[in-house]
Symmetry: C2
Subunit: 206 residues, 2 copies
């Protein structure tokens, strides 16, 4: 009989280690020796559970993808927008946190993008999900008259994602450029975006 408990523990440690090392060093830099060492496991054991380094990292990324989707799903946007400020901000805050947490990995993924077509779905999935959700929400908000008619939902989505993107990735590289911390800076950016898409005062009052 298979001792699932032990095997799972080893596989688990390997997956976690693979994810961590991949995040820090990229695919090329994530050597099987480093991964095995971080997992506290012999390198041979790695190859007993996974046919190749490619398969191991693929499995690790798939698990990370699943976790990210689950985390993002826990921050839902209402289907019927009522108050942009009150609804969008908590959602964006949660997404930014998830994004910043994965920031190191996102950066390495960006770099080796063309070399890792097999992983595109896992790497891009969460971002695509956020973009789709935001777009749908903003389109509904526009229909409900909560957004100035001229503001294209696609463009607003891009702008929000751009802010998420840069505030999730850049702070470690440009410390000092985010006075008050990345979170506060992000909040100020959202202020401007929301100001830019708010309906004219006249339209609201009348």
């Amino acid at each position: 009989m298979i001792r699932w408990q032990e095997m799972d523990a080893t596989v688990e440690r390997l997956l976690t280690a693979a994810r961590e090392v991949f995040d820090e060093e990229g695919f090329r830099g994530a050597t099987t020796r480093k991964i095995a060492a971080r997992a506290g496991v012999n390198e041979v054991t790695l190859f007993r559970h996974f046919a190749s380094k490619e398969e191991l990292i693929g499995a690790a990324l798939a698990r990370g993808h699943a976790e990210a989707v689950a985390r993002l799903g826990a921050a839902p946007l209402p289907e019927e927008p009522a108050d942009l400020d009150a609804e969008l901000r908590p959602y964006l805050r949660m997404v930014l946190q998830a994004f910043a947490g994965a920031g190191r990995g996102v950066r390495t993924a960006l770099a080796e993008w063309e070399h890792l077509p097999a992983y595109h779905a896992w790497l891009l999935g969460p971002s695509e999900a956020v973009m789709d959700r935001l777009r749908r929400y903003l389109a509904a908000a526009a229909r409900a008259g909560l957004v100035r008619p001229g503001a294209d939902p696609d463009a607003v989505t891009h702008l929000l994602v751009a802010a998420l993107f840069s505030h999730g990735l850049l702070p470690p590289m440009m410390p000092g450029r985010f006075p008050g911390g990345p979170a506060a800076s992000f909040e100020r950016c959202v202020d401007i975006i929301l100001d830019g898409i708010r309906p004219e005062p006249e339209e609201v009052s009348r």
Copy 2:
């Protein structure tokens, strides 16, 4: 007597090749054999001109940095802002073009950031210059009453850079997400930002 003409030609080809391969493959992936092959030069010749791979890539990045600064300097912003729309848009357009052109290299640089401290100045310099210039311009515009008082120049700068950043890097990875092309999408984002920082109509008319 040294034949500068030939030697320069070889060094030139090596620098160009090093830059290209580094952009595509990163530092680890840019092997001396690949660089020499792309330059159409024997690998030994590479080491006759540069003490090490690290020095060669450093020189190539320094040249790229100089070129980028020169290109960005050709798109000046006035010291005394008069018309945000008319002045900011051409500048941003030019920066976006420069950014998109360097996009591949920026992505690899992002990934290996922590591993290449020696290159930070070369890699980050142009972006820092753009941020400083934008910040100065926006602060002056705020003083001139061209920007709504609530809009923090730092936040506006961040938002503009975020839009530049994402529109320069993401299109190759998410084709189809930029209907009408990245340039048009970027323009729409700038629309929203400018709308978000414009002074209230009442303030202007009175």
